[in-house]
Amino acid sequence: MSLSIRPMLSSLLRSRTGAILVALQITIALAVMVNAIWIVSQRIVDIEQPTGIDDHNMFVVAIAGLTSHFDLSSALSEDLDYLRGLPGVLAATASESVPLTGDGQGTELWLQPGQRGHSIAAGELQLDTQGLKTLGTSLLSGRNFNSAEIQHFARGKLDLTPADIIVTHTLAKALFPDGNALGKVVYNAAGKPITIVGVTRDFMGAIGLGNAPYAYAIFPQIPGAYGAYFCLVRTQPGRLGAVMRVAQRHLATSNPDRVIFFTHSLEFYHHRMVAANRNMAIFLSTVTTLILAITCLGIFGLATYNVSARTKQIGTRRAIGARKRDIIAYFMVENAFILSAGVVAGCVLALATGYWLSQQYDLPRLDLYYLVSGVLFLWIIGQLAAWQPARRAASVSPSVATRTI
């Protein structure tokens, strides 16, 4: 292959505007692609984060008092008894929030009384003895609550301090980084001591995705202060739909003093929780694909133009002995120059964009591995886009040289 680079460069420089425009497209496309894929990969990590609960087989019934005769604690125990007795139900618990909804309550725990030292933030769940079984999580150490420990709220009564709590593995580590949390005492804002009686596997509570999606404390409490409660139900695999329908029909009419606010599967909330990330990933991927497609069309267009503008020159080269593959090589190398220029500028722009995104939006810094892969990928599809015009150039007949057009 005999390629003289210098004349090629000089011809490139002479018709430079087209080449610059294509290089500019490549620059933007690379910066967008690399950063978009980086963001998408982060989102996928978020989407695929395990919930730690058996959300495929769980549903929630939201119940609210309606009339002044409504007695919450009797209605609640009646509803729970009914739900627990249904065939196909593994466990049911009262709760004051619903996991995966993003609508939960937080609390703070101290290692010393009187708010001394720094506090650890934790999500709070109020569940009864069947709480752990309903969530589908299990104890790593310690014990479950017994029914004597469960505290009952009354309407309008807003604060109860439990004597014992169960914490997730993540929260246990946060509270006691180098030791066994089991049996240790922590303090709430009012300075009252609380003993950790159990440590569970990690699961997501109601607060949702965030900095600490797995830091939760379970309080042995039955809600009621707000005149409304949730019943969380876990069914045997495959029985969810049927159980939900039966329960819904029964509960709607079983007690005229209250109403069913809504019934949802936990999958509904899981879906909703990851939807924003999933949508962002879909959006970014679509737009990136389109940008790449447009850029390839630009490369294709420029190469086609170059070939047709130089038909006579190609014919002359052929006439004086250039082989087909020399012509192809000529155009491919020329395209490679443009690509490389665009890619080099694109690296700079991609890094700058990545830096800016990390400053502006709290994203992790761009992983260089993505940049390298992006460069290679773009370079290859860029060359593929020029392949067909180069082939067409090679098929120009040498006789063109002697014809006037």
Binding site: T17, G18, L21, A29, G156, L158, F261, A275, A276
Partner: protein, 448 residues
């Protein structure tokens, strides 16, 4: 002359239909993508009451924990809600033209003719000025007056949607209905009013469902209703009675005032400041003075209504449009330069630079117009897709979603498309048209 240029342009398109189509597609995709993200962005950050932007103010005071700011990530910000005692005191001021305090309650509606089961609804407990202050449009009847606030009188305003559902859309003013087991008289029915974002209460997220009914605020106290909306407290000892709750430092009330002049705004602020000083001496408000009257636009910004995802997407859309335009400039330039022998000939026959420039600009304009038209279609399809994608993300517990209203293709979208098309014509066409206009006429005559 324009018609002649158009004829020449159509000849040119027929000569290179593939390239022409490519350019139209590139512009259409770029404009379509921009329309989609701009519409979403506009809807998300748009000010739904822009005409009153500079007279409506959210009232905030920093009543939070002396030891720690309300939001440790933004220590300069006071909590976004007020305590009951502060809100009721500030409501006693007659400086604002309008003023309203409000909170979200859970309500049960029952007793409409033919109604079988009670319906749970989100109810806004608020004061009389809410309706005139926010220019709330009524279909039937109207709001209540200050006397009804004081009573409180059992009057209720229904949303358009629930009037449809309970009364089949008929004029229900004067009808009686049960709200949480008590008899209320329907006093007004709203038109379909869904300010998006719901600027006056952003605590449940910007796309929280609309309020379904409105009752006088004092029913909260009369019926001992706890708020179903956002509330927060910092005290170590949470009160365990309702009256204790009202007297506590828990924040759960949004307050808005309408202050038509800068002077009234200053007076309101000094009223707040003197209240702060008195309370400060009495032992409350131990954090630094941090009273604010925040207008709607700033309030939306403070609440981070535009998610970072949307602003990333917005920038992405512009990068995309840029690539599409650069692409088009490149193709146009190649196409025009390839024709330079003809252009040289036209120059020899007496076409001036300006005539050549306009001739090419008309050609570009035609492409841009076609691209814009196709872009509108692309945008409409894209918005449909967004609507489907986001419907799940914004579905509330009761199954309502505000995204359908958000992502509809309105005049704003079309205006954006047209503006973008005009802009892209200028951006994509000027340089190539100018370049061919500058070609020396003689050079290309011989080489044909």
């Amino acid at each position: 002359m324009i018609s002649y240029y158009l004829r020449l342009a159509s000849k040119s398109f027929r000569r290179t239909p593939g390239l022409t189509l490519l350019m139209i597609c590139a512009i259409a995709l770029g404009i379509g993508a921009c329309i989609v993200t701009l519409t979403v962005y506009h809807a998300m950050s748009g000010n739904p009451i822009w005409w009153k932007n500079n007279v409506l103010y959210a009232v905030t005071m920093d009543s939070w924990d002396p030891a720690e700011p309300a939001d440790p990530d933004h220590p300069a910000l006071p909590p976004f809600q007020l305590t009951y005692r502060d809100a009721t005191y500030l409501m006693s001021s007659d400086i604002p033209r309008h003023k309203a305090m409000m909170a979200e309650l859970l309500g049960m509606l029952n007793g409409a003719p033919g109604q079988k089961a009670p319906v749970p609804i989100m109810t806004r407990a608020t004061t009389a000025d809410f309706f005139p202050m926010f220019d709330v449009p009524f279909e039937y009847g109207g709001g209540w007056d200050a006397a009804a606030d004081q009573g409180p009188q059992p009057v209720i305003v229904l949303s358009h949607k629930y009037n449809e559902r309970l009364f089949g859309g008929r004029d229900s003013v004067g009808q009686t209905i049960l709200w949480n087991g008590r008899q209320f008289r329907v006093i007004g029915v709203l038109k379909d009013w869904q300010p998006t974002p719901k600027f006056y209460d952003l605590n449940e997220g910007p796309f929280a469902g609309p309020d379904d009914a409105y009752v006088p605020f004092n029913w909260t106290r009369t019926l001992q209703e706890l708020p179903a909306g956002h509330s927060a407290d910092w005290e170590a000892n949470v009160p365990d009675t309702y009256s204790g709750y009202l007297a506590s430092e828990a924040v759960w009330i949004e307050m808005w005032v309408e202050l038509p002049t800068a002077a009234s705004r200053d007076r309101m602020l000094s009223f707040m400041n003197s209240y702060w000083s008195a309370q400060h001496k009495a032992g409350r408000f131990q954090r630094p003075l941090n009273n604010h009257l925040t207008n709607v636009g700033d309030w939306l910004k403070l609440n981070g209504v535009v998610s970072s995802d949307t602003s990333i997407l917005l920038r992405l859309a512009f990068a995309f449009l840029a690539v599409c335009l650069i692409n088009t400039v490149g193709i146009l330039l190649a196409k025009f330069l390839k024709r330079s022998s003809v252009t040289g000939l036209l120059r020899a026959l007496g076409a001036s630079r300006r005539q050549i420039f306009w001739q090419h600009l008309v050609e570009v304009g035609t492409i841009a117009a076609a691209g814009a038209a196709a872009g509108l279609v692309v945008g409409a399809i894209g918005l449909k897709a967004v609507q489907i994608l986001y419907a799940a993300a914004s579905t509330g517990d009761t199954g309502d979603s505000n995204y359908t209203s958000l992502a509809h293709f309105d005049a704003v979208g079309i205006a954006w498309a047209l503006a973008l098309a005009a802009l892209s014509t200028v951006a994509a066409g000027l340089y190539p048209a100018w370049t061919v206009g500058r070609l020396p006429p003689s050079r290309y005559l011989k080489s044909q």
